[in-house]
Amino acid sequence: MSNVLVFAEHLHKKFSKNALVAVGAGQAIAAQSGGECYAAVFGAGIEDLAKELSEYGVKTVFAVEHATLEHYAPDAHAQALSALAEDKGCDIVVGTASSIGKDLLPRVAVRLGAGMASDITAANDDGTLERPTYAGNAMATISIETPRKVISVRATAFEPATKSSAGTVEKVDAKIDEAALKTKFVSFDETKSDRPSLTEARRVVSGGRGLKNGENFKTVLEPLVDALGAAMGASRAAVDAGFVPNDLQIGQTGKVVAPELYIAVGISGAIQHLAGMKDSKVIVAINKDEEAPIFQVSDYGLVADLFKAVPEMKEAVEKLK
């Protein structure tokens, strides 16, 4: 009978899918533990945001206000989240394995003396959890043995919460020892894009080293991305070479995506890349090397020169409309 507290992250006072997935996963875990599911929103002036979340079937959303919580910073958030979990009697803390969740939750686990499971893909009825290891080459079945538990969930593996019964909103003054804060937010250089975000898009088109340079991403790949209304992703090689920004990297050590349609263009299909996209519903590969490993996981493979095939595909897609 453990209660669950979900950490609902937001950016510029907007929830991304990450927050709703965390709530969805928190509800599933609470159902198994026989406890209630609560959620917490942190920031300055976030009461409306908390109200919005309260419609998603959680018992209470705690609106945790404090000037030091205006920007995400790990030490302040860890203090506030662990204090809240203790005050409200929540033995299980759940968040998404996003860059914020990964940064924050291990600190919360230490503060609570809780065992930590990261990036889980399933919560089984017997209380065990599943998580991928070795770049997705092995699935581990694990259990947290401590009474308190901290869990980060893989966003592609759980259903986002949907609007259902309305819960209450409770304003909470965060407990923060400001003298103990060390990590200070300085600035955020945000990658601006009009495209859907990678982790939320129904379609993703990714480019690899085969694109050869950043210019080709713009002139060859992006027209297809936009014709499909897709998000754009990339392999590590393309990011390392500076063709595209780092937050487009998909894979073991980048973002994990599972859209309805994933198109890999000029990507060989290294295991580290597959780890980030092989749960996509339909996978398409365009590569001039018929031996490329990406074809082993593709539903549709086209052996072709991408510089010819991609513009053709853009035309063909536009004709469908």
Binding site: L11, P74, D75, S98, S99, K102, D103, L105, P106, R107, A109, V110, M116, S118, D119, T133, Y134, A135, N137, A138, M139, A140, T141, I142, E145, K182, T183, K184, S187, F188, D189, T191, T199, R203, R236, V239, N246, D247, Q252, T253, L261, I271, V282, I283, V284, F295, Q296, V297, S298, D299, Y300, G301, L302, V303, A304, A309, E312, M313, A316, L320
Partner: protein, 251 residues
């Protein structure tokens, strides 16, 4: 100035990993082991700080079996000054690694602890953050750039985060975890390898550190991931688009 670098021994990222039929682990026959790629980047960054900031001692730490010596020697050959191997048989769970590191930090009093952002075997991405909390230090995780202040009293770390790059600032001592774009690690030179043989490599049994070793997270079994079947090859772009439209119904 002193920099402690946490180094994990992991299977070569290019090796094919297979789960043992009995689910007790992975098949390790003929498996090559290396320094965790993120730890290699962490070592490189420590060496660069040493070179660019008028000297520093770079101390490597690994927690694991006797064979982890190999990876520590690799780091010493890259240029680290000395190494500590905390000996323990079998897998050591992340929180216990973090506790062991916290104990060594108490003894060594470093100004920076560098770690990899993630070990590519367990893919946990937790040890650096746990250690920061245990010590009450600031943290700059997923670092793609590290700038120390002139007087070496603080650091600004650029972090690779969802949606862009974030800068955070913290006083030293601090925890920094390395992401892929932080640097290109150097190779060990032949003279480096020769010198490494003579560098200090101290061994301490984990039990001697006096930390709580009770299990927090238990691994019951490993299973192979669901296999994905290769589908069909198409001949033309038109055929591809038609199939995506009529068969897969995704466009």
């Amino acid at each position: 100035m002193k920099i402690l670098v946490a180094v994990k021994r992991v299977p070569d990222p290019n090796a094919t990993i297979k789960v043992r039929p009995d689910g007790t682990g992975i098949v390790t026959d003929n498996l090559k082991y290396v320094v965790n790629p993120f730890c290699e980047i962490a070592i490189e960054e420590a060496l660069r700080i040493k070179e660019n900031h008028g000297g520093a001692e770079v101390v490597l730490v690994s927690v694991g079996e006797q064979v982890c010596q190999e990876q520590l020697r690799t780091g010493l050959a890259m240029g680290a000054d000395r190494a500590i191997l905390v000996l323990q048989d079998g897998d050591v769970e992340p929180v216990i690694v973090a506790r062991a590191l916290a104990k060594l930090v108490e003894q060594e009093q470093p100004d920076i602890v560098m770690l990899g952002k993630q070990a590519i075997d367990d893919d946990s991405n937790v040890v650096g953050q746990m250690l920061a909390e245990m010590l009450g230090w600031g943290q700059g995780t997923f670092a793609s750039e590290v700038k120390l202040s002139e007087d070496k009293s603080s650091a600004v770390v650029t972090r690779e985060v969802d949606g862009g790059l974030e800068d955070v600032e913290m006083p030293l001592p601090a925890i920094i975890t390395a992401d892929l774009r932080l640097n290109e690690p150097r190779y060990a030179s032949l003279p480096g390898i020769m010198k490494a043989r003579k560098k200090e490599l101290k061994e301490i049994p984990l039990g001697d550190l006096g930390i709580d070793q009770s299990v927090q997270v238990k691994v019951h079994k490993l299973s192979p991931p669901p296999e994905r079947q290769a589908g069909k090859k198409v001949e033309t772009v038109q055929e591809l688009v038609d199939l995506l439209h009529t068969e897969a119904k995704v466009i």
